[in-house]
């Protein structure tokens, strides 16, 4: 077992046998734009969400640079407000929500199920184009005068402001449908297209996570759609639902908004949990600890998360009973989340831990998510939240979960399935360095925000009292480091497409069905119809040679 066989020199790997895969089976614009292949659609999503992420990141850098000085270094207050709004809206609606299901989910879900495609390929393409039109509307809104309501669109400000709220609202409406259709598609796919022998409890956890996400998408997103429509109607026709001058109730808007947006944070994070579950197992070469508990905790989170939206409104003047229930249930969500984190750590414990770049990103996730989740518990405590609500403490909390955890899990998954998708490997050394830079940059950016937040620095401030300046300085420096790390990552990933080494057939030694197809997969995924005879994550069946055979 411990014989140290020298690694194959990948440079000399011979070019392909001429096997057709999904990338080179056809070419031309229409072969992509009109494709029904889930992998190509996944790739197009990947390009789209990456562009959105880079735009959002640019806005973030502007925000941080502006906050270098207490009076605001770059913009007038009104312009700053537009920039932080754009940052939040791009990141939430165009990146974090669609990123993992749209790109990696599309790519991997049918592979993991042993299916030829998703159940409804046309709907899948439609989802993608809805995403595109949402992105166009959002960009249009910038041209039409921008918007300055924050990503939360709180009424009545969103009713009164003279910016392009209707346009962006329509964009979000379209994005919502994109999300709903993806969810529907995945639900049907999981129910109908599992390979023979792939029972529910043999499904990889990424599939479980996407399944739980899809339920949330289908049930919660319509509420968001209705809410933004109501805001648009209120602006256009003064129907008097949210505007207090017409007898409307602004707090009702908050209820509607968070009824969607709390489940939405789990729409964002569950796929990330799925990726991490997958990766800790593969890269520790060890079955997942507590598989069923993780699967059930995803469903538990999906259900409970419908009942906790009020924890975003503890200062809004809710009744005591509402406060009681929402705080109680919020603490309840923390339990399945904690179970997951412990199970991942237990999986790594006594594993055969490969310290490659996907695993480094995963470890970074585990550390950062621990902080993100634990600080959520601090916020769940009623009287403490009253002090911390709408301060930088909350900003730091949700960046620890959204940027530090979800985006990092997305990067981890990207590095994990990159060789599968493209048949090439990026430069591992650069990847490890970039991961280190991102980890350091991220923590430098957001740790100080916890401190200034608990000391009372309110969020969405274009200017601030000077005593908070040192923390803002640290945070801005961190953001620049983070930006450099991400730039490096983009560089080596793109470079690998042109000059990357050939990847191995089974680069990391995975045993789920996605590693049983040729690399990159052919158009309809499997040369032979797959069937499953072993339990999930059973590494005793791993053929180690495939991890050393270059992809064809």
């Amino acid at each position: 077992m411990t014989t140290n066989v020298p690694a194959v020199d990948t440079h000399v790997a011979e070019p392909t046998s001429g096997r057709k895969n999904f990338l080179n089976c056809s070419s031309g614009f229409m072969s992509w734009a009109g494709t029904l292949d889930h992998k190509r659609i996944g790739l197009m999503y990947l390009v789209g969400v990456s562009i959105a992420f880079l735009c959002g990141g640019l806005f973030a850098l502007l925000v941080r640079l502006h906050l270098w000085s207490p009076e605001g270094a770059l913009f007038a207050n009104a312009d700053y407000n537009q920039i932080f709004t754009l940052h939040g809206a791009f990141m939430v609606f165009l990146f974090v929500i669609p990123a993992i299901p749209g790109s990696l989910g599309n790519m991997v879900l049918p592979l993991m199920l042993g299916a030829k495609d998703v159940a409804l390929p046309r709907l899948n393409l439609l989802s993608f184009y809805l995403w595109c039109s949402g992105a166009v509307m959002a960009t249009l809104a910038i041209i039409l005068g921008g918007f300055d309501t924050g990503w939360t669109f709180y009424a009545p400000y969103s009713i009164y402001t003279d910016k392009a709220v209707v346009s962006i609202g329509l964009g979000i409406f379209l994005l919502g449908f994109s999300s709903i259709f993806t969810g529907l598609n995945f639900i049907v796919t999981v129910h109908k297209l599992r390979a023979p022998g792939l029972t529910w409890f043999r499904m990889p956890l990424f599939v479980w996570a996407l399944y739980a996400t899809s339920i949330l998408q289908v049930l919660a997103t319509p509420v968001l759609g209705i809410t933004v429509l109501l805001v648009a109607f209120e602006r256009l026709y003064n129907i008097g639902i949210f505007d207090p001058r017409l007898g409307g109730d602004p707090v009702l808007f908050e209820h509607f908004f968070w009824f969607y947006s709390h489940p939405a944070v789990y729409i964002m994070v569950l796929p990330a949990f799925g990726i991490v579950s997958e990766l800790v197992s593969v890269h520790s070469r060890k079955p997942l600890f507590g598989y069923k508990l993780i699967a059930f905790s995803s469903l538990a989170i999906a259900i409970i998360s419908f009942l906790v939206w009020g924890h975003h409104m503890f200062t809004s003047g809710q009744s005591t009973y509402a406060m009681f229930a929402f705080s109680f249930l919020t603490f309840f969500v923390a339990i399945p989340t904690a179970i997951k984190e412990f199970s991942w750590v237990a999986t790594i414990w006594k594993g055969s831990i490969a310290l490659n770049s996907p695993m480094l990103y995963t470890l970074a996730f585990l550390i950062i998510f621990a902080i993100g989740g634990l600080t959520g518990v601090i916020l769940g405590a009623l009287n403490v939240d009253i002090h911390l609500h709408d301060t930088y403490f909350v900003v730091a909390h949700f960046h620890y979960v959204m940027m530090g955890s979800i985006a990092l899990a997305f990067f981890a998954g990207l590095h994990h399935w990159w060789p599968k998708m493209f048949g090439v490997m990026y430069n591992e050394t650069l990847a490890k360095i970039a991961c280190g830079i991102i980890f350091i940059g991220f923590n430098t950016t957001f740790l100080p925000q916890f401190i200034m937040g608990s000391r009372g620095m309110p969020r969405r401030y274009a200017t601030y009292v000077p005593e908070y300046a040192p923390y803002h300085h640290a945070s801005t420096i961190g953001a620049v480091i983070l930006g450099l790390g991400i730039a490096l990552m983009v560089y080596y990933l793109v470079a690998s497409l042109f000059s990357g080494k050939r990847a191995m057939q089974n680069q990391w030694g995975g045993v789920t069905l996605d590693w049983h197809t040729p690399t990159p997969p052919p158009l309809e995924n499997f040369d032979h119809s797959p069937s499953v005879t072993t339990e999930v994550y059973d590494y005793s069946v791993l053929d180690l040679e495939t991890t050393r055979t270059p992809a064809s």
Partner: protein, 352 residues
Amino acid sequence: MFVNLFQDPVNAAQGVAESVPQNPHAPAQTIDAWGQLPKLASTFGDVDGLFYFTYAVCIFFFVLIFAALLYSVIKWHRKTYDQPAASNVTHNTPLEVVWTVIPLIIVMVMFAWGFKGSLDMTNVPHGARQYKATAKQWNWTFSYPNDPVQSYGELWLEVGKPASFLLESTDVLHAFYMPSMRVKRDVVPGRYQKVWFQPIEKGEYHLFCAEYCGDDHSKMYAKVHVVDAVEYAKRPWDQWDDNNPAKGGESRYKALCSSCHSLDGTPLTGPSWKGLFVKDASGAIVGGQRDVFVGGVKETITVDDAYIIESIKNPEAKKAAGHEKNAMTAFPNLPDREIHGIIEFMKTLAGK
């Protein structure tokens, strides 16, 4: 745009007070011994207790997780490509029960403690002084119990006396947030909200707007003085000096108008006040020339007191050219002596 539709009967007063600019050159807060929270200045110490308790629990679990990961990575990282896992355990029911039940117990403690603390915050004690805070874009106005004089952008409280605030917004959402007192409450247009606390330390404190409310959200600041009974009895908020109305006018300007009007010619949301009054050849102060739109028709007028008063009480009547698309908050209830003070202040700008 934000025409003042929510005219407020209580506001229809009266007097005035000297106040400080909204742009905060406020004293820095003192930080408590643990370095995380501003030093507690109210009786809501439960917040601190629970905060540090949850903080300690978080640090404990974080260290546990981090140590386990670090240890694993050092001990079991893969040295050869075919190294199998050191163990293939997939379950350990006692362990799983432990790590479900222990966190459950801990969070239930946090829940109960937090809930109790929040009850204290909702139950206003008998005999609390009734203040009122009115939020509008982007300033705070405070009314004192049984006192016609209001203060702007600055608030005085007596140490040791519970203070209860009726919160009211005339435009969008705001939030009344005093970090040192551990209180925060959204100010919702169309509803009255309440917040109370009992200051226990003399000093000066921040009052922030914590709910995003548009352009100058971050400047919606008030300085809060907690003073002793002797000082409080002097009604420090009533500082109007009839012998020097321009001084009072300047403080009104800083509290209410400076977010939209500059003094040096820079156009903000509204026109600069430079040039409203000018000096003629003899050095006498006279009204300047202004282009305005009256019902959409442009005309040139000479500024006088009546024009200023109309601009303050009914800004839509004559719209200053170059800013005709922007709306000014109306101040129909601003007392006459304050308007007079503002005009006197404007006149001091002539020739500058």
